[in-house]
């Protein structure tokens, strides 16, 4: 086993920070939907979290541009950080739209979807932490499978929720608001799966 240079460890530190920030955002969104209060404040807080995530992503790119030997392939570092960044973007947009559309109370489906997202980002964080020491490839692989499973589950909830929405003939505008919000949360879950795919590909390459 080659000992990594301290400079290379920095990438793993930054990835973990980024994945932690993403997870923090998802937990915050899930809590909001469970206890629907101060939407605007939460949306504002999530905007700051998203900004933190951006900063870490920029730092990773700066390091990438100035580091000669990287612990993972350069393009994998690049795509991993952009995919993590995407997750947080969609989380932020979901909360932003709830504030913008002056949503009064959450739907059952939005609570479920945000809980799935929160679970996915927790696992995403685990998988990212696993990159540092690829000896536990098997465990990381299992975490990635679980992320995939959650994504399928998210798909199904979203589909059922859309069917419900289109029965809301008395409140069509509310239905349109929720359709969009569900879309953002589901895309965030999709992006977790994308991170899992990148990590799996990285593991195979470095096996």
């Amino acid at each position: 086993m080659i000992k990594l240079l301290p400079k290379q460890e920095v990438f793993f530190d930054l990835f973990e920070q980024q994945a932690e920030t993403v997870n923090k955002g998802a937990q915050c969104l899930a809590e909001l939907l469970k206890d629907f209060r101060n939407v605007e404040d939460v949306a504002f807080k999530l905007k700051a979290t998203e900004h933190d995530g951006d900063e870490i992503a920029h730092e990773i790119m700066r390091k990438l541009n100035t580091t000669f030997v990287t612990p993972l392939d350069r393009e994998d570092i690049h795509s991993l950080t952009s995919a993590l960044d995407d997750i947080l973007d969609y989380i932020e947009t979901a909360s932003d739209r709830m504030a913008l559309y002056e949503i009064k109370e959450p739907t059952e489906a939005s609570i479920k979807l945000s809980a799935i997202l929160a679970k996915s980002t927790e696992l995403t964080l685990q998988a990212v932490c696993g990159l540092r020491d690829m000896k536990n490839a098997k465990t990381i692989h299992e975490v990635c499978i679980e992320i995939n499973r959650l994504e399928n589950q998210g798909d199904q909830i979203n589909r059922a929720a859309l069917a419900e929405l289109f029965k809301m003939i008395d409140k069509p505008v509310e239905a349109l608001k929720w359709r969009e919000i569900y879309g953002h949360i589901e895309t965030a879950i999709d992006k977790c799966e994308e991170v899992a795919e990148i990590i799996e590909a990285t593991l195979l390459k470095n096996a």
Binding site: M61, E75, H78, L100, P172, L176, E180
Partner: protein, 211 residues
């Protein structure tokens, strides 16, 4: 690296000309979309023109894929050449789809934020063109990364425009069908700017990998 004249896109296979052609069509398409929104008439002719551009790009993309297989040496990875063509193609798809939905949904008069978003697309596609040029006349990493930074900024700007557009739409529009139509059109326009950012990400990835 001590190589002063370095090209990322292999000239012997005319990849440069092909990517340049796509970039030019992207700019034309964005200009056409902007014109459609500002001068909202001859909708059929304008949407047809866009569809024709889409077909042209599809053809060039096929051509690029063919050439990837037959060329032995590519200075950048084959998958990057492929990804670049595919992501540029996506930009056009969303530009075309935005115009198409306006026609399909029988929009009477475009909402004013659509023009702003189209203007962002004109600027973003011009920056993509600049990025392709920089890749082919490679001097340093900055000349490629600078357009990327600008494209990212424009994408953030488009986010804000879309947000403003949706706020006004839900506030002022009473007809839920009208809301649904515009929600979708704004989303396509904004996604087109996201796809420009994807192209910028590939530019970054190419220079970073070969740095």
């Amino acid at each position: 690296m001590g190589i002063s004249k370095f090209r990322f896109l292999p000239s012997e296979e005319n990849f440069f000309e092909l990517f340049d052609e796509i970039a030019e069509i992207l700019v034309n398409a964005a200009v056409c979309l902007h014109d459609l929104i500002v001068n909202y008439q001859d909708i059929d002719t304008k949407t047809k023109a866009l569809r024709k551009m889409e077909k042209q790009v599809d053809k060039i993309t096929d051509d690029i894929c063919q050439r990837i297989y037959i060329s032995f040496v590519t200075p950048i990875d084959r998958e990057d050449i492929h990804a670049l063509a595919a992501r540029m193609d996506d930009v056009l798809d969303y530009i075309e789809a935005s115009a198409d939905r306006m026609k399909l949904y029988g929009i009477d008069k475009p909402r004013k934020e659509a023009e702003e978003l189209a203007q962002v697309l004109v600027e973003s596609t011009k920056l993509i063109q600049a990025g392709i040029f920089a890749l082919n006349n490679y001097r340093d990493i900055e000349t490629v990364l600078n357009p990327c930074i600008e494209i990212n900024k424009l994408e953030n700007q488009a986010d804000q425009i879309q947000r403003r557009a949706l706020a006004r739409l839900f506030k002022e529009e009473a007809d839920p069908l009208e809301i649904a139509k515009w929600q979708e059109i704004f989303s396509r326009l904004e996604t087109a700017t996201d796809r420009c950012e994807d192209v910028a990400n590939i530019f970054e990835s190419i220079v970073v990998k070969n740095a």
